[in-house]
């Protein structure tokens, strides 16, 4: 029996169960719903829940046990469901509190759902910790964290030092922030303090559109347009390199990607500064820019720092732009027109293609992933803390 069939049968059973449950309740009450503790439809829902919960629960378990597509899975699931539904139909009477049963089940489901977020985090941490442990059993952790050479070799004897990757990651992120923070901040200031409604109604969606564009699109833009342009007009004339993929290419394009991120967060934060402070400053004869520079921005500073940290975490974790724009060579160099690489690029390259999950060359990707996760988590927690503190100040 195929999985699709199982689901179809389950749906049909659920429909039947609802009407059966409701009908039985009405029959027990002699057609007078007022004699029941709960509305008849709750008996119907009781039947549906008692059918679906065991059947779907088993399917989910089977999926994680790797036997989802085993032919027996479907039969067992259906069998359990029918038993459950039978129990529900048997549990019908004028004194039965079907509504309370249904509501308890639903509340349980709601709680279960909110556990999924926790489970996801746990899953991320555990899976990466486990594989990273495997990695450090085969590779010295000091060599990983302090090694300056990255040279994986699938025949063994690789150098897997994280420093060149960390350098590339930070270099590109810094360039991206140097582009995005001033532009995003000034754009936010202009939009919230100067722009008229007409200008805003055109420019704001345009900037927000930058945020809706998938990163693969930015990656391609870096690869086919920005990279060659930088090479032909800057790197080659200046004698700085001949590579289209470079730190500069990835940094600039990533900067553009982060602009809306910085600007929309800053916009919120600037708008949270009370109007009375602006009035106070303007009333003393300050110009608008003096008011912004001397009163609004200092008041908004913590929030803006938080926004920049969130943007930095975005930049550090960004993958597609660097995969397509930065290159694959792990290097410790200062020249921004040289191709360098990042942690995310190496995660992709070590985990795609033929992978051997016993080799340190593959497992290192998990160590990189864990480093990246801890790094971005630190930035996020700090940023969220600062932003939250800032919001409280004006509430």
């Amino acid at each position: 029996m195929t999985l699709g069939m199982v689901f179809l049968i389950l749906a049909a059973l659920a429909l039947a169960g609802f009407f059966l449950g409701r009908g039985r309740a009405l029959a027990v009450a002699g057609g007078d719903a007022r004699r029941l503790h709960s509305l008849p439809s709750y008996f119907g829902w009781q039947a549906v829940l008692f059918l679906a919960l065991p059947a779907l629960g088993l399917t989910a378990l089977a999926a994680f046990g790797g036997v989802l597509r085993h032919p027996a899975t479907g039969w067992v699931a259906l069998g359990l469901g029918v038993i459950g539904m039978g129990a529900a139909l048997w549990n019908t009477g004028t004194e039965v509190r079907a509504r309370n049963i249904v509501e308890t089940c639903v509340k349980g489901l709601l709680i279960l759902s909110s556990f999924i977020a926790i489970a996801t985090t746990l899953g991320i941490v555990l899976s990466m910790l486990f594989e990273t442990g495997q990695f450090f059993r085969q590779y010295q952790w000091t060599d990983f964290f302090f090694g300056t050479v990255w040279q994986p070799n699938f025949r063994g004897g690789s150098d897997l030092g994280i420093l060149p990757l960390l350098w590339g990651t930070l270099y590109i992120s810094v360039i991206a922030l140097l582009v995005a923070v001033p532009i995003g901040l000034f754009a936010a200031i202009y939009m919230s303090e100067y722009a008229g409604p007409k200008f805003r109604s055109f420019a704001k969606p345009a900037i927000e559109m930058l945020a809706g564009i998938p990163t693969i699109v930015y990656g391609l833009f870096a690869l086919i347009t920005v990279g060659p342009m930088l090479r032909d007009y800057f790197a080659q004339p200046l004698g700085l390199g001949t590579s289209a993929s470079s730190v500069m290419t990835a940094g600039l394009v990533m900067g553009v990607m982060i602009i809306p991120f910085v600007s929309s967060l800053s916009d919120d934060i600037i708008n949270a500064v009370p109007q009375s402070l602006r009035d106070g400053s303007l009333g003393l004869g300050a110009t608008q820019s003096e008011t912004i520079r001397l009163v609004v921005l200092p008041a908004a500073l913590p929030g803006i720092v938080g926004a920049v940290l969130l943007a930095a975490s975005r930049a550090v974790g960004e993958t597609m732009i660097v995969v397509l724009g930065a290159g694959a060579a792990a290097k410790l160099s200062l020249n921004p027109f040289e191709a360098m690489t990042t942690m995310t690029v190496k995660i992709v390259s070590q985990l795609t293609g033929d992978t051997d999950f016993a080799a340190p060359e593959t497992l290192v990707a998990f160590a990189l992933g864990l480093t990246l996760f801890v790094f971005t988590l630190g930035l996020n927690v700090l940023a969220l803390y600062i932003v939250r503190k800032y919001r409280e100040q004006y509430e």
Binding site: G196, P274, S276, L277, R278, D279, G280, S281, L282, G283, L284, G285, A286, T287, E290, L294, V295, P298, A299
Partner: protein
Amino acid sequence: MNVMRQTDDATATAEIKIAAKGVQVYYGDNHAIKDVDVDIADRTVTAFIGPSGCGKSTFLRCLNRMNDTIDICRVEGKITLDGEDIYDKRVDPVQLRAKVGMVFQKPNPFPKSIYDNVAYGPRIHGLARGKAELDEIVENSLRRAALWGEVKDRLNAPGTGLSGGQQQRLCIARAVATSPEVLLMDEPCSALDPIATAQVEELIDELRSRFAVVIVTHSMQQAARVSQKTAFFHLGNLVEFGETGQIFTNPRDPRTESYITGRIG
């Protein structure tokens, strides 16, 4: 047209600082101020009273062009400061506001130190030549706002840490620090407790010796206590303007009488 004209001869003794003639204010389609004429005398406290929504605050904000910051607001008529039209194209509102300071309804100290709050105006207008001179301005302003004694030991503490009454006096010190010629106060005591209110009222009386003070208040008692002249606004009209004593004891317009006896408002 307004029924009421200024009739009293006592004002003639003080120099006219601000003269408003035929002022109209529109918020979009809403005609908020209708043809108001008022003369504000120097070294006098003028109170604007009236029920809420009568336009008294709106009119106050016209006097230093704070209404410019609201896009849909349009002002017509003529307002002069020392005979110069403040709505003239050549007038820079920034310069105007340095001369006509403003204190707001809710205390709004900047999230900076007490010192920086007071020094803000002198700094942007370049009033002090050096640190010593700035210190002097700050001290004098705080003294004038009757706050010096309370804060002289903690000038670097944040202004937002003061009590409500102290914050409002800090805002007055901040406004005084730019050496304005006129001080506009928009219900400066509405957010304060009675003791703080009394302190601020006392302060207003002292400020009269140096500035023309215009105060908007919803409290008739306050107007009676602090002002020499009172203007009564109703539904965007200036109903009556005259000596405070006369307005409260012998109002000429029946609407004024109704308001001060508590029948409208």
